[in-house]
Symmetry: C2
Subunit: 336 residues, 2 copies
């Protein structure tokens, strides 16, 4: 397998990206194509023991920042690591592309300039895998489409089901719709119309899912409008951080609580690791015609390695072909 990695992706690029590539090459043995500015990548590579490891540098000289407008960057920076990395998939030089960079830019470059959509896909969805205790839940869309139609959510449900097989190893995941109440009939117009469509799909539909149900693992795949999904994920992360900070402040406010805090620190650290971010490093742009995994901007080397791991699973699980087939079957069922 050959996986292209955006070496200029993470907030602290290229150090975590390159270190993650080295870890992945060691652990998985796949070829990692490091895409970006060689004059930045090579000195970073020199810090690691890379002899014999399947690592290659692919030059790409335009750099996309978090401040670049997604709508502009596709045209303005045609030689970015994202363009070049995704073109590698298109040209069958790579099996997947992984980036911890600007999500909006990746979405725009994938759908408008390089890979484009899988045939039959109405809109691609940005996916997040959230930790829920010992399990995980796939939430989509978390930001690709701010205004969605019921038919798009219907496809998200189908794509989420298919992705749950490779990502979570679930053949028959429970699929729900994010809503403001569990009861049937709750939700806004979009949720109610999408639910009616999803109920007819060949999948285990569990109906409305509230935030608390999502966090207690009552569903494996939860679909939503990209605006609502984005606010939900951001609320989770902001709240987890706020609660952690409050606890730290309150513990530091007294001598005994401070001592208690020192003793309990390993427990806090484990919780922070689980909840900040809530997201498992790396989730795909589903619906794009190629495996594109987006990691968190704050990724460290291990998070980059995990994102590469997600890419491997999606490639070996044949997610793209399964989505194409799944949508095709759906169209044929409708014709009958």
């Amino acid at each position: 397998m050959r996986i292209a990695l955006d070496a200029m992706g993470s907030d602290a690029f290229p150090a975590p990206d390159v270190a993650g590539a080295v870890l992945a090459a060691q652990e998985f043995g796949d070829t990692i194509l490091l895409v970006g500015d060689p004059s930045k990548i090579e000195p970073e590579l020199a810090k690691h023991k890379t002899a014999g490891l399947p690592l290659q540098v692919i030059p790409a000289l335009d750099i996309i920042t978090m401040h670049d407008k997604p709508s502009v960057v596709g045209k303005a920076k045609p030689n970015s690591s994202m363009h070049i990395g995704m073109k590698l998939i298109k040209d069958e030089q790579a099996d997947a592309f992984v980036t911890a960079g600007n999500t909006g830019a990746a979405l725009s470059i994938a759908t408008l300039y390089t890979l484009r959509r899988i045939s039959g896909v109405k809109r691609p969805a940005l996916t997040a895998i959230l930790r829920v205790g010992e399990r995980a839940v796939i939430l989509l869309d978390v930001g690709a489409n701010a205004d969605s139609k019921p038919e798009w959510l219907e496809q998200f449900a189908l794509m989420g089901k298919i992705y749950a097989k490779s990502a979570l190893g679930l053949d028959d995941p429970r699929v729900g719709v994010l809503s403001n109440g569990e009861e049937e009939g709750k939700g806004n117009e979009l949720v109610r119309e999408a639910s009616a469509l999803i109920a007819n799909l060949p999948l285990r539909f569990v109906g409305n899912v509230e935030p608390k149900d999502l966090l207690s693992g009552d569903a494996d795949v939860v679909v939503s409008d990209g605006f609502v999904g984005n606010i939900m994920v951001k609320s989770l992360e902001a709240t987890a951080r706020t609660v952690s900070n409050l606890i730290r402040q309150e513990i530091m406010a007294g001598t005994l609580t401070k001592l208690g805090g020192v003793l309990a620190k390993p427990a806090f650290d484990r919780v922070r690791k689980q909840t900040d971010p809530f997201e498992v490093g790396g989730a795909p742009l589903l619906g794009v015609n190629g495996v594109v995994i987006i990691g968190h901007g704050r990724s460290n080397d291990r998070a980059i390695k995990n994102a590469i791991g997600q890419a491997r699973k999606a490639v070996s699980g044949q997610v793209i072909a399964s989505i194409a087939t799944g949508l095709q079957e759906r169209v044929e069922t409708e014709r009958r």
Copy 2:
């Protein structure tokens, strides 16, 4: 001042409701009208020292539960404590109504059967006051309207500004719109159209507010669609509870961390009090023609007393008259 209280409101009614009324009568000296089933209220009152306190019982024999459908209950149970309590305002027998009961039922009974809307109000909004460190932020709508129009959000901004004066003591609050990114141009169609309208209002508009900005106190009033606001508030509460539970589990998993947990317990308890629920007990249905304060179903006696306190502030701050005037001025400005 006379404040009507739904004695059958909280999840554990009537004990916390009655105890809260006693606390409020002691502290504020206002007359509290306890509305509900006298055969349930009187034995509860007998448990407290009520001699000389301005407490009255007003009979209302229909009982609304959390399982009652809001759309049905208005007609089906015309003698509920909610109906009778709100009619007391209409008949000028009470200055405000406080309930910790079914929110949807309160909204439906207020708008369709008793108080109705303030003249000029397009839709009432359910409001939440969230704790943000030492400060508070008013979020609306958190559930009255699942599908909203830009003009409704525009009015929510104006009503939120007016309410911030009595609730938070702020003359010129910073008003923002809940969105999926801070940058201008982010948001869905509703957010962008509402922002354009709010920018023309006579208030301090701070634009888009993300969940993290809201939690760091970057705005005093944040408006949103009721569906999104509801999911945001529910996400905050579910996450705070999940993080607390995880910390408890991890602390209990080791001997040293367990000891640390015992020492640090006062700090945790303070944080839990601040974040579970995140909401300050009691926030109004804004836009309804009368002060109606909705408390949390899990309210204890102090939360009920605080909700009554919110009602007093809204009455003495003349929130209803101010909203009517504010909307009238707005209409006149538009005509010019």
